[in-house]
Amino acid sequence: MSDFCLKGENVHLWRGDHHVLRGVRFQVEGGECLQLTGANGAGKTTLLRTACGLAYPEGGEITWRGENIRKDLHAFHAQLAYLGHEPPLKAELTARENLRYWIGTRRRLQPQELDGALERVGADQWADRPVRTLSAGQKRRAALAGLTLMRVPLWLLDEPTTNLDAEGQKLVGALIDEHLQAGGVALAAVHHGLAMSTASGLKRMELTVG
Amino acid sequence: MSAFLDMGGYAAYVWPAYAVTLAVIALNIVWARRLLKRSRKDALQRLAIGGSDQ
């Protein structure tokens, strides 16, 4: 048993005059994926950003392995991967270079690991073209390759299936599956279901528009 | 001969001017031929990989 556990307690957050997160509570443990659903504007993105420490909650607290994430933010960040609405890639670099510089700041990467991850997301054809020339779904796939390379226990994913074709949707499901199998934790904002093989670790939470 | 090379006292200006111009001419020849050679090689390479479609 791992002690991986991300927990939000009574999280409050305002944006302008808008009380977006009104005492949100959640808990995900190793081997679990919490699917965040909710109408547009319900606050899914805001919750994810708060959970990874990019936004500061004005009430309540978020803990990881039993400790407030602010206590040692660097150590917390070293254990999480966050993918937002847009794939974080530099348009002028190739997909491979992007991964090298992005993941490289976190850990030493072997070239064959990179090759493996790129192949996994079907990037063989376009791994060495500037990201600028890639299609929307190809960019998303490159970001997914980065996700698998991070090797961290906590995944925070904001609509990871956007722009992906049917096969890409399955890929996302399979990646999360494997992550959970390995004892990882995932928190994913989604509008449709995730294409996962087992529903065992799947929890759902619906945010309502505040 | 040395009078010719001296250029009536203007050698320090005349000869560099000619040198620069001739260098520009020579470089242009080299560059142009290199461009042609390189694009020939590239074209051959492309033919070897892709064959001709369309």
Binding site: - | G8, A32, S52
Partner: protein, 245 residues
């Protein structure tokens, strides 16, 4: 109907073939003329009564300066044709012109300032003719910079064509700068209407150099053009026939 022959004439295989065949017909006369001009200018022509032998820089300065303007004009015209009629070969001509023009502009600037040192007592002055020639160099560099900033040749062609056309306003400015502003630089003596104001033994080598440089440009352009045409043709069947030995 009238356009079909035009397009056929400008079709890449045709251009590639004709350019290859034409090159020696320009290159050899150019070499002869430049060689004769060099001998004529450096040895046979008499010293100037004012400038002594210093004026001999004329035989490399004037042709280089002439090239800088002529090549730019050629480039702009080719770019306009390419833009309006979407003609790939015209774009290839424009692309081929830029490095040639830039190098001769550089030569004109260097030879000019080497000439200026003994004649005006300074290598450089912020004089309209000199400044506008420097701007021309910047324009060439800008053109090449813009071109190389694009990955796709097609887009680079079309965007840089707009710049080439816009920049052509600088050409008359350079040419007339000595007339419009009172300039250090001397007024046109050869390239003007009516009688040239130079004794014949001085004039003939200059004319040979001018013609020689122009032909040389033509030969260079053809060689570069073949390269450009090859690099922008996509796996067309004629390439294998043209390239394979």
């Amino acid at each position: 109907m009238a356009w079909t022959w035009f397009h056929k004439l400008a079709s890449p295989p045709h251009v590639y073939r004709v350019a290859g065949r034409l090159t020696p017909w320009l290159a050899w006369p150019a070499a002869l003329l430049i060689g004769a001009g060099l001998i004529g200018g450096l040895v046979l022509a008499p010293p100037d009564y004012q400038q002594g032998d210093g004026y001999r820089i004329l035989y490399v300065h004037a042709p280089s300066a002439w090239m800088s303007l002529m090549v730019y004009t050629t480039m702009a015209v080719a770019a306009a044709i390419g833009l309006i009629w979407r003609m790939k070969v015209a774009h290839a001509v424009a692309a081929s012109c830029a490095p040639i023009g830039a190098s001769f502009t550089f030569a004109a600037l260097v030879t000019g300032s080497l000439w200026g040192a003994p004649m005006w007592g300074t290598y450089w002055q912020w004089d309209p003719r000199l400044t506008s020639e420097l701007i021309l160099l910047f324009l060439y560099l800008g053109y090449m910079g813009l071109r190389s900033a694009f990955e796709e040749v097609q887009r680079a062609d079309r965007v840089s064509a707009v710049l080439a056309i816009v920049g052509v306003v600088n050409v008359p400015i350079i040419h007339y700068s000595v007339i419009w502003w009172n300039s250090l630089h001397q007024a046109p003596s050869v390239m003007r209407l009516g009688e040239p104001t130079m004794p014949l033994p001085m004039l003939v080598p200059l004319l040979m150099m001018l013609l020689g440089f122009t032909l040389f440009f033509g030969a260079l352009l053809l060689v570069r053009l073949r390269g450009e045409v090859l690099s922008r043709e996509r796996a067309a069947s004629w390439i294998s026939a043209a390239v394979r030995p």
